[in-house]
């Protein structure tokens, strides 16, 4: 874009200075360099399509210069844009370098103009959007919505796997019980022996082995089983030692026990 408005440059420059002075106070009010460029471009008072990018670059660079003179801290992106516009300016002013295969100054300028035009268009679109009738402000929804009652049926389900894992959980819980706890229902032979030794003195006559079971162990089947075995083993031990005699009338008949007579 070799500038056709070259003659206006000085005028533009003055306007840009004025604009820059007005704008400088509020540099933070801009949403970045593109926003600033768009605002500056308005001083050209032309359709954005016909904007002089060269003039705009001048305006922007002027603005940055002013800001620096006033020692205003500029964000890095403003300075990056300034550097880029200075580059663009040189591209636009110098004859194209045949060695350089990068984009031409005109192409870069056209793209910047497009960006500005697009940003402007989006701002106008946003304004038009917000000017539309809005829900809750201009038109309204049902004030007493009759909510759809959901008749919710909950269907419970479980798989065979759940079932088996559940069962496994219960069973393994037992298996993991500390060993000492298992002994609650176990009568050891030592315990039975101690008990037999203290009781045998009174058993002068034949008595059923079952009567020697500790109290409370004869009703519960598990305890009865354990106590019977232990008492039987203890009585065998005592018989071996020659303290008692054992007899059984026939197979599966009750085993009987009595103290061996001293004679």
């Amino acid at each position: 874009m070799t500038d056709p408005d070259q003659t206006d440059t000085t005028v533009v420059h003055v306007e840009a200075r004025l604009a820059a002075e007005a704008l400088i106070v509020d540099v933070d009010g801009f949403e970045g360099p593109l926003d600033l460029l768009l605002t500056l471009s308005r001083t050209q008072k032309v359709d954005l399509r016909k904007i002089s990018v060269l003039a705009l670059a001048e305006q922007y660079l002027g603005f940055i210069r002013e800001a620096k003179e006033l020692r205003i801290e500029l964000a890095a992106d403003y300075l990056v844009m300034a550097a880029w516009l200075a580059f663009l300016k040189s591209r636009l002013l110098l004859p194209p370098d045949p060695e350089d295969d990068g984009p031409s100054g005109e192409e870069l300028a056209a793209h910047l103009a497009f960006q500005l035009e697009r940003l402007q268009a989006m701002r106008e679109a946003a304004a038009r959007l917000m000017a539309r009738d809005q829900k809750g402000r201009d038109f309204f929804v049902r004030g007493i919505p009759e909510d759809v009652t959901r008749i919710r049926t909950v269907r419970y389900t479980a798989t065979l796997l759940d079932l088996m894992q559940g069962y496994a959980r219960i069973r393994t819980k037992d298996e993991f019980r500390p060993y000492t706890m298992d002994r609650r229902d176990v009568l050891t032979m030592e315990e039975a022996l101690d008990r037999m030794r203290s009781l045998i003195g009174f058993a002068g006559d034949w008595a059923d082995l079952s009567t020697f079971l500790p109290e409370g162990w004869e009703t519960d089947p598990v305890r009865r089983r354990s106590a019977t075995a232990a008492t039987f083993a203890a009585s065998l031990e005592l018989a071996k030692a020659g303290n008692v005699e054992l007899r059984q009338g026939e197979s599966f008949a009750p085993i009987q026990i009595r103290r061996k007579s001293d004679d």
């Binding site: 909510d147 759809v148 479980a158 759940d162 559940g166 069962y167 496994a168 219960i170 060993y179």
Partner: protein, 224 residues
């Protein structure tokens, strides 16, 4: 409505009747509460007659999908009662059974017929009424015979519905502990000597039964 002929054309001229009806319609529609006639008049432009507009609106909605109805001394738009069925939506939600329910069900399946006290003994915790009720409601368990022991407690057994749901021919198809172990469902090794030890004669019986059927269980394979 006072119609002051003397009054010159002014800002206070009442809107045409059709317009008043539109206004009442919009206000009734958008209000979160039923609206009284007084309130309508207060909201509408000066000179409007809400009562009359309301009457016209009410007529207009006769036989429609929604009606203008009186609620106390206020008015509202409501769905026609005969269309209430459209306001219901049936949804079926599938939820997993709770752990307590699964365990209880498993015990019933493996030990049936089993009393509540026995279930509690096996689980080591008490079984809530709700858990049993839920399983009964699902029709996965039912009451069995009373046990011929003191107190004559009722027993529970699994139902045909249970077998159908779990794809079992009979409760005997349930894999035993050995199989559970073999299939990796039980990764614990039992302490030596405690193998399949049970607390109860019924259980032992039931349990041995189950593990005797140790033909590979196809259902179980599928489930994995």
């Amino acid at each position: 409505m006072t119609d002051d002929a003397q009054e010159p054309e002014s800002l206070f001229e009442a809107p045409p009747e059709g317009e008043q009806e539109r206004m009442v319609e919009a206000v009734l529609f958008a209000s979160a509460q039923p609206v009284t006639v007084a309130d309508l008049n207060a909201r509408m432009p000066h000179g409007a007659d809400a009562a009359r507009a309301l009457e016209a609106l009410r007529k207009r909605y006769e036989g429609r999908g929604v009606h203008v109805v009186r609620v106390g001394d206020a008015w509202a738009i409501r769905t026609a009662p005969d269309l209430g069925f459209l306001m219901q939506k049936e949804t079926v939600e599938t939820r997993k059974l709770s752990r307590a329910a699964i365990e209880t069900l498993a015990i019933i399946a493996y030990h049936q017929p089993v009393t509540r006290a026995e279930i509690e003994e096996i689980r080591g915790v008490s079984v809530s009424r709700g858990t049993i009720d839920q399983l009964l409601e699902l029709e996965w368990i039912r009451f069995g015979r009373r046990r011929m022991t003191p107190g004559r407690p009722i027993t529970f057994v699994v139902t045909q519905g249970f077998l159908d749901h779990f794809g079992l021919e009979s409760a005997r198809d349930l894999p035993g502990l050995k199989e559970l172990r073999a299939s990796g469902l039980l990764d614990s090794r039992p302490p030596p000597g405690s193998d399949e030890e049970t607390d109860d004669e019924d259980q032992t019986e039931m349990f041995e039964d189950a593990s005797e059927d140790d033909v590979p269980n196809p259902t179980m394979e599928q489930e994995e």
